[in-house]
Amino acid sequence: MKRSIIPFLSAAGIVLLLLAVSYLFMQQGHAEKAPEPPARPVPVDSTKCIAPVGKMRASHMQMLNEWRHSSVREGNRVHVTPDGRRFEKSLNTCLGCHGQNRLFCFNCHMYANVKPTCWNCHLSPMEMP
């Protein structure tokens, strides 16, 4: 009888240990999970943006880089959206609508802890008159 209890006990011990360790990891994973982003007001006129919100959120930096290159270097200052609307390639075009929300750029950038250098020279929504 004794011989059959020992492996059972050791197996139970191992299972308990595994549970404890996995619980620790679960706790850690839970602690690292990002808190919800702060609620922010809806930007005015967002329905008329050059691209859908999701795309802009994901790739506005590439788009701005491309705008910068083509307008400053190649002199092509007109952006045409796939549905035929035309925009001047300028940060002021964006801020024309989004500048109404003074925290437009900052809310996300602060949350994501990214520090773009745009506002070293360009006027940010906070500084727009």
């Binding site: 083509s70 270097r73 045409v80 020279c121 360009h122 006027l123």
Partner: protein, 259 residues
């Protein structure tokens, strides 16, 4: 025996990893690698078609008038530092012998000698500054304007050494506090970049004349396309004796003067 089992295990594991990768690439197709934006180019300018130039009639330009300078510096957020060593300028007035140091200075009539002459970037056809720039931050545009991409400027000031006209200024300090009223239509610069006149390229795209030309009360400034024989500036160049600054250097300036 053990070795063969191990080999089998490794082989199966490898196959499993490969299969997993293949499944993952099927689940997440090129979506994440998709090119974010493909703008349809249009109205791309033709290089060499236009060459913007300016003609300054120094006879009309009044000595003490600073309206063009004020307008330019207001529109472009040019800082105004108290210390002259920090001075930043896009367009300014200098004595005749400073603007034309290599022109004949012997027995010049007093009216000319005491004249204040407007100076700005000459937007040379053969600009020495663009050759000196190691980052291509300054470059000659398709329309002859010697432009600056402030994003690329590293502040090495090679271009300032290369420019024979002193048309470039360096931001030794943060320019923001030295700007009286911020113009929202044009960005400022930051500490550690070189800046200069851009021939109002941001106004030209909107079909406006440069700020200095528009502001001049005496209409002493003429702006136009040097490649167009029918333009006002070309007609004035044909009917007047004009000068360029330091023409012997071969930079072929686009700014001309009537003395």
């Amino acid at each position: 025996m053990i070795n063969e089992q191990r080999r089998e295990f490794i082989r199966k594991t490898g196959l499993g990893v490969l299969a997993g990768l293949g499944a993952a690439s099927g689940l997440f197709p090129a979506l994440s690698l998709e090119k974010t934006l493909l703008p349809a180019w249009d109205e791309k300018p033709v290089p060499g078609k236009i060459r913007w130039g300016m003609l300054i009639d120094t006879r009309l330009c009044k000595g003490d008038c600073q309206q063009c300078t004020a307008a330019c510096h207001r529109v472009h957020n040019v800082p105004r530092f108290i210390n002259r060593w920090d001075e930043v300028k896009w367009i300014w007035k200098s004595p005749y012998e400073n603007v034309f140091p290599t022109a004949s200075q012997q027995f010049v009539d007093s009216g000319t000698k005491e004249r204040k002459v407007l100076a700005l970037c000459n937007h040379c056809a053969e600009p020495p500054c663009t050759r000196a720039c190691p980052t291509e931050a300054t470059f000659r545009r398709w329309d002859g304007i010697v432009s600056m991409d402030y994003h690329r400027c590293i502040g090495c000031r090679f271009c300032m050494a290369a420019c024979p006209y002193g048309s470039r200024s360096f931001n030794w300090q943060d320019p923001r506090p030295a700007i009286r009223e911020l113009s929202p239509t044009y960005p400022t610069r930051e500490k550690g970049v070189v800046e200069k006149c851009n021939f109002c390229s941001e106004r030209l795209v909107k079909g406006q004349l440069p700020a200095c030309v528009e502001e001049c009360p005496e209409k002493a400034l003429t702006f136009g396309d040097l490649n167009d024989p029918e333009s006002d500036i070309r007609k004035l160049l044909e009917s007047n004796l004009t000068m360029q600054r330091k023409p012997e250097l071969g930079t072929r300036p686009s700014v001309f003067y009537i003395i």
